[in-house]
C-alpha cells in the first residue's frame, strides 16, 4: 500500500520559523476568522497578497507543498462545479443584478454576478491556504501543545493533540501491516468488490486496529500516570519559547488586519462588496 502523503514540518532557518508556535497559532486562527467573516473582494485580495509575501519569507518552496496544492485545487474545482450545477443564478440573487455574459442551455447561463460569486468563494478558501500550510510546515509539532496551553486551552486537551501527532506514524504503520496481512488472505478494500463487501472487509482490518489501539491506550495512560501526568493544575513545557519582539509585532499585525477586515466588511451594513450596484 502506498505511503500516505502528508505535509510535514519542514525545518529551515527563516523568520517565520523563528516565531513561536503560539504566535503562529494565533495568526492562523485570526486569519481563518478574518477570511470566514468577510465577503469583501478587496480584503480577500489583500489577504492573498500578504499570504504570498509571508510564503516568500518562510523559504518554503512551492514544490515542498505541491501535492497539497494539487489537492486544494481539485477540492476547489469540484466545489465550484457543484455550486454552479445546483444554483447557476445564485450570484444574481446575491448581488441583486444580472449581467448575462453568455447564454447557455436552459437555466445554465453565465452571468457576471455568478462568476464574481465564484471568485469570492474561491478567494475565501485560497487566502487561508498559504497560511494554513505555513502553519503546518513551519511549526515544530513539539510546540503545538505548549502553544495551545498558552492561549488558554486546558493542558490535558493540548496534550491530546500532541499524543495524536506522536502516534499517527505508529497507527499508520500498523494499519499498513494489518491491511497487507489481510490482503494476503484475500481481503481487499479497493478493487471490483461490491460496496457492502468492501465495508465488511474493512472490518477485518479495523477490528484488529481498534483492539490494538485500545491496548495502546491502556499502556500509554499507565506510562503517563507513572510519570505524574495530571498531578498539578498547571504544567511547564520543555519546548515552550517566550514571545520576542517579532512575535508581538506579528500578533499586533494580525489584530490590525482583523479590525480592518471587520470595519471594511461591515461599514456599509452588508457583508458583501457589491461592484454591480
Amino acid at each position: 500500500m502506498a505511503r500516505i502523503a502528508i505535509l510535514n514540518y519542514i525545518k529551515r532557518p527563516s523568520p517565520v520559523h523563528e516565531l513561536t508556535g503560539t504566535t503562529k497559532l494565533i495568526f492562523f486562527i485570526v486569519w481563518s476568522v478574518a477570511s470566514m467573516v468577510t465577503f469583501d473582494t478587496r480584503i480577500l485580495l489583500c489577504m492573498l497578497a500578504i499570504g504570498a509575501v509571508i510564503f516568500r519569507i518562510s523559504r518554503i518552496r512551492i514544490r515542498d507543498i505541491s501535492v497539497v496544492l494539487g489537492l486544494a485545487a481539485v477540492f476547489l474545482l469540484l466545489n465550484n462545479i457543484f455550486i454552479y450545477l445546483f444554483t447557476p443564478e445564485y450570484g444574481v440573487e446575491l448581488y441583486e443584478s444580472r449581467t448575462v455574459l453568455l447564454a447557455g442551455v436552459g437555466r445554465y447561463t453565465v452571468t457576471a454576478q455568478q462568476l464574481f460569486y465564484h471568485l469570492n468563494v474561491t478567494l475565501k478558501v485560497i487566502c487561508v491556504v498559504p497560511v494554513a500550510l505555513l502553519f503546518i510546515a513551519c511549526t515544530d509539532p513539539s510546540e503545538f501543545a505548549a502553544s495551545l496551553a498558552r492561549i488558554g486551552v486546558s493542558y490535558r486537551a493540548g496534550y491530546a493533540v500532541s499524543l495524536a501527532l506522536r502516534y499517527i506514524p505508529d497507527v499508520q504503520r500498523e494499519y499498513t501491516n494489518i491491511s497487507q496481512a489481510q490482503q494476503a488472505r484475500g481481503i481487499e478494500l479497493s478493487g471490483k468488490d461490491k460496496f457492502f463487501t468492501r465495508l465488511k472487509n474493512s472490518v477485518a482490518i479495523l477490528l484488529p486496529l481498534v483492539m490494538s489501539s485500545l491496548n495502546r491506550i491502556e499502556t500509554v495512560s499507565n506510562a503517563m500516570e507513572l510519570r505524574g501526568f495530571g498531578k498539578e493544575k498547571k504544567r511547564t513545557w520543555y519546548t515552550q519559547r517566550s514571545l520576542k519582539r517579532n512575535d508581538w509585532l506579528t500578533i499586533g499585525f494580525a489584530a490590525v488586519i482583523l479590525v480592518i477586515d471587520l470595519i471594511v466588511t461591515f461599514w456599509d451594513g452588508s457583508r458583501y462588496y457589491n461592484p454591480f450596484l
Binding site: I83, L94, R156, A160, A164, L165, V171, V210, G230
Partner: protein, 180 residues
C-alpha cells in the same frame, strides 16, 4: 467542567490519530465523490466507549489535522465532525459495552449515530456553510444528504460490527468445554 482523566486524554489522542489515518486512506465508493469515510465508524465506537467529550475532541482534532494537511481547514465540516462525536457520546452514555452487548444496546448505538449524522450533515454543516461561505442552500442540502447517508451506512455496518467484535473480545473466559 470536570477534569479529563488521563485515560480520556490518551483515548482522545489515539482516537484522533486513528481518525486521521483512516480519513487519509480514502476508499473509493461507486458514487463519485462520496468516499467511504471509515473514520466516523471509529469515532462512533470511541465516543461510545469513552464518552461525549472524547467524541467531540476526537472529531475536532482528527478532522482539523486531515484538513490542515490537505487544503486548509474547512471549519464548518470540522465542527460537524466534532458534533457527531458529541451526540453519539451523549446518546450512548453509560451503556457499558465492556459488560457485554445485546440487541437493545446495538439499537441504541444505531439510533445515536443516525441522529448524529442527520443533524451534523443535514443541519450543522450546511447552516455553518451558509453563515461562513454564503453557499447556496440547494447545493449544501444535497451535499449534506449525501454525506449523511454515506456516513450512516458506514457507521451502521462497520461501527456495529466493531462494537460486536469488541464486546466479544473483552468478555471473560466462560466455562467452555472441549469437543472431540
Amino acid at each position: 467542567m470536570k477534569k479529563l482523566s488521563v485515560k480520556s486524554v490518551v483515548a482522545i489522542g489515539i482516537g484522533a490519530a486513528l481518525f486521521f489515518v483512516l480519513g487519509k486512506v480514502a476508499i473509493p465508493s461507486p458514487v463519485p465523490n462520496t468516499n467511504i469515510s471509515l473514520q466516523y465508524a471509529v469515532e462512533a465506537v470511541f465516543a461510545t466507549l469513552f464518552g461525549p467529550i472524547a467524541g467531540i475532541v476526537i472529531g475536532f482534532i482528527g478532522h482539523t489535522l486531515i484538513d490542515a494537511t490537505s487544503y486548509g481547514p474547512w471549519w464548518s465540516w470540522i465542527i460537524a465532525s466534532a458534533f457527531v462525536g458529541l451526540v453519539i457520546g451523549l446518546v450512548t452514555m453509560k451503556m457499558n459495552v465492556e459488560e457485554g452487548i445485546d440487541s437493545k444496546k446495538l439499537i441504541r448505538f444505531n439510533v445515536a449515530h443516525i441522529i448524529a449524522h442527520v443533524l451534523a450533515w443535514g443541519l450543522v454543516a450546511p447552516v455553518l456553510d451558509i453563515l461562513i461561505y454564503a453557499e447556496p442552500v440547494e447545493k449544501l442540502f444535497a451535499q449534506g444528504l449525501m454525506a449523511a447517508v454515506s456516513n450512516i451506512i458506514t457507521t451502521g455496518v462497520v461501527g456495529t460490527l466493531l462494537l460486536l467484535g469488541y464486546a466479544k473480545t473483552v468478555v471473560k473466559k466462560g466455562s467452555l468445554e472441549k469437543e472431540d
